[in-house]
Symmetry: C2
Subunit: 211 residues, 2 copies
Amino acid sequence: MATETRRTDALSRERIVDAAIEMLDNAGEGGLTFRALAAQLRTGPGAIYWHVANKSELLVAATDAVLAAAIPSDDAIRTVALSVYDAIDAHPWIGTQLSRIPSQPAIWRIFERIGRQLQALGVPVTDQFTWASALLNYILGVAAQNAALARSVEPGTDRTDFLDTVSAVWADLDPDQYPFLRTVASQLRDHDDRAQFVAGLDLILAGITGA
Amino acid sequence: MATETRRTDALSRERIVDAAIEMLDNAGEGGLTFRALAAQLRTGPGAIYWHVANKSELLVAATDAVLAAAIPSDDAIRTVALSVYDAIDAHPWIGTQLSRIPSQPAIWRIFERIGRQLQALGVPVTDQFTWASALLNYILGVAAQNAALARSVEPGTDRTDFLDTVSAVWADLDPDQYPFLRTVASQLRDHDDRAQFVAGLDLILAGITGA
DNA sequence: ACCTGAACACCGTTCAAGT
DNA sequence: ACCTGAACACCGTTCAAGT
């Protein structure tokens, strides 16, 4: 059995996915190109296709890798939820990915932890599946939504400037048509996305424990 | 003042957006092409750029048009929520769009209605903004997530077949690692996405009225 | 003012040819 | 078995030229 000397820069599915994640983080979704990826890995674009079927599969693999690494061993719903939130916040491109291909192994693991916690909370068996789904959907949906907002702000502009602008527009809307938006316009400027995420989560948890 | 005879097939932003929506509905996101759109409108691809800045703006306009048409005059949160859900269900491509560009006029209108309803429910002023955000995020996030699942199933395969497959995978998972998924595997097959959406919504509303 | 359509600068993906 | 990179079939977008 000959021991094989592996060159450290040998191509592998893992190295490809890692490089893809790095490119997505640095340059966003538009920055991930098979030509650029191949250049980074010092090979031709065709070589990648030996390890990965196509770009879609590569994006799924990248999303799964990031999420899998983010899920904590702790089962507490708030901990799991915030881990997922922070992971999507750090890798905003995952947001788009989630609304493209669901039911990935990493998502199953999140669902498993939420479900177990509901069991521990004494939730009736008939409600466990539905309520765990509500929590999972909330976590993924809201995190993705927030990532979208973060991405939509042009790299140059400050987040505060952007919120100021929208806030000003709200404050100027027709009072007959948009009384509520006018009322909360000032709150938009200073709101904390993460705290708001937790507040909504707590609302669902309150609904669960109150039942 | 000469009355001008307008040809019915004159190009306009509205006609372009309508044609784009039709192509997105028929062929999905990949089916919307400036060349195909131009052919449909019996013109060249360059003509579209006179009325629309680029593809991104066109997608935003299409999303906004569909959502604006879907929002009912009724203010009830459940009615608004289900209208949005059904609109995204009918035009799944909106799901991806929502997690790309937020804060569109149509979304403001939804937010406005939710907020007004919370005021009518007697929610404290300090909680109105946060809780309206939680509801909006839930509605958009979950609807987008469900649309993704609907789209991910290949046109040929039946939804039931797909859920059967995932259900079988869950039932076969390691009992030590995935006790919960194994328990609910059978429920996955027969669950109703829309009912589940409402159940989660009611959980949030219960949390709000219980506070 | 508005439309035309060829042309530019890219893509993802394939595949014969290499090692 | 794995890699190479030219080539194919597309894209979004631009722009000189027309009306």
